[in-house]
């Protein structure tokens, strides 16, 4: 599995994360290869096939990234900060922190629903 440590010393969660990370690396490596080959070939039909395959790999990578996000709270936090933003990327974190500081603390009493408590 191309591990840096003995598998016996790693948790099942770490091993699954390793599998996902390796898979993402392989998908993006394939994207890179397909991109180069598509650009280099003079055959138009082959280029179309390679471009199609390249974009399929992007879908596979996205699915695996999403799996990893759901299992990695720190990655989840960072993706929520950086993805789908419009500001210059190097300014995104500072802006997000400023927004958090401006947000008022929760001031309600936290009553919410009382439905789970059954009366008699």
């Amino acid at each position: 599995m191309d591990l840096h440590e003995s598998a016996d010393s790693l948790s099942a969660a770490s091993l699954d994360a390793h599998r996902a990370i390796r898979s993402i690396m392989e998908e993006f490596e394939a994207v890179d290869w397909y991109q180069q080959r598509a650009e280099a070939t003079d055959d138009v039909e082959l280029r179309r096939v390679l471009e199609h395959n390249r974009d399929e790999e992007k879908e596979h990578a996205s699915m695996t990234i999403e799996w990893l996000r759901r299992h990695d709270p720190a990655l989840d936090r960072h993706l929520r900060t950086y993805l789908f933003t419009d500001a210059p990327i190097t300014e995104v974190e500072a802006r997000a922190e400023a927004q958090d500081a401006d947000a008022p603390p929760a001031t309600d009493l936290g009553i919410g629903s009382l439905r789970k408590e059954q009366e008699a």
Partner: protein, 275 residues
């Protein structure tokens, strides 16, 4: 600082915590609707309305263009002011345990009653009408004899099932009904236990703002309390001897499925017979 202006109040963090805790303990004892209907929120102070997903035409077709207005339900702002003696607030900071925060409890009682009233009795206009109004077409008669309340609830459950409204079910009991159910027996068998059997251990909730009783479906989606700002305490002002606070929330009630409830009404306004 936000609209509650808590930072402007001349009281300590400890005193704020004591007042918040007092109201936080009191509100659940007064609130009834939140034990029975869906709760959506809190959506925040900025939330002003709920989308209804419907439109109303506002203009005749002109050059083939139709103009329609999106329908929405505005939230109500509920506020109840109360005053606490400054000497009581000072006593909190000294570590006193017996503090007179009764005005805060009174405010909790008052605002909870209004929330329940809006949910169960509502405003006159749909879709903001309360459950007893929205579901009035399905009302069944309730005998004056308290021992008949479980039978009436069973008839209501049957009526709901007949309409294809599955369980679980719960019941809201007006003050008179609640007192009767809690204290009466029927041939030695507690009326409360009989009612529990009918409802398959569904919630039995005292609702002082209604007359009679109300059996409703709890499957979700039929009755929804939408809350913007959930109950919060703010600062209003002070004198040399008192500090004035406000307990507030923003909310609206939606009866999406009026068929999912059956009001039980006394034939006349008389209460159940006493034991």
């Amino acid at each position: 600082m936000n609209h509650l202006r808590r930072d402007m109040a001349p009281i300590s963090t400890t005193a704020w915590a004591a007042i918040d805790d007092e109201i936080r303990r009191a509100l659940p004892t007064f609130l009834s609707a939140r034990r029975l209907v869906d709760f959506s929120g809190p959506h925040g102070w900025e939330c002003s309305s709920v989308d209804l997903g419907r439109t109303e035409p506002v203009q005749q077709l002109a050059n083939g263009v139709e103009v329609a207005e999106r329908q929405s339900l505005p939230l109500y702002e509920l506020r109840r002011e109360f005053e606490i003696e400054l000497r009581e607030i000072d006593a909190i900071d000294r570590g006193a345990k017996a503090i007179d925060l009764e005005p805060a409890v009174d405010a909790a009682r008052a605002i909870a009653r209004v929330e329940d009233d809006l949910v169960f009795n509502g405003q006159s206009t749909a879709p903001a009408s309360g459950i007893t109004v929205a579901s009035s077409a399905h009302a069944l008669a309730l005998e004056l004899d308290a021992s008949q309340i479980p039978a009436a609830a069973a008839a209501a459950v049957d009526a709901l099932r007949e309409r294809g409204v599955g369980g679980p079910y719960g019941v809201a009991l007006g003050s008179d009904c609640h007192g009767a159910v809690m204290t009466r027996t029927d041939d030695g068998y507690p009326v409360l236990e009989h009612l529990r059997l009918v409802l398959d251990d569904g919630p039995i909730v005292a609702v002082p703002v209604i007359d009679g009783a109300l059996v409703l479906c709890l499957r979700g989606g039929d009755f929804e309390l939408v809350v913007g700002e959930d109950f919060s305490v703010g600062y209003r002002g002070h004198t040399d001897t008192t500090v004035r606070f406000v307990l507030e929330e923003t909310m609206v009630f939606r009866a999406n499925g009026p068929d999912a409830a059956v009001p039980l009404r006394f034939a006349d306004s008389a209460a159940p017979t006493a034991p």
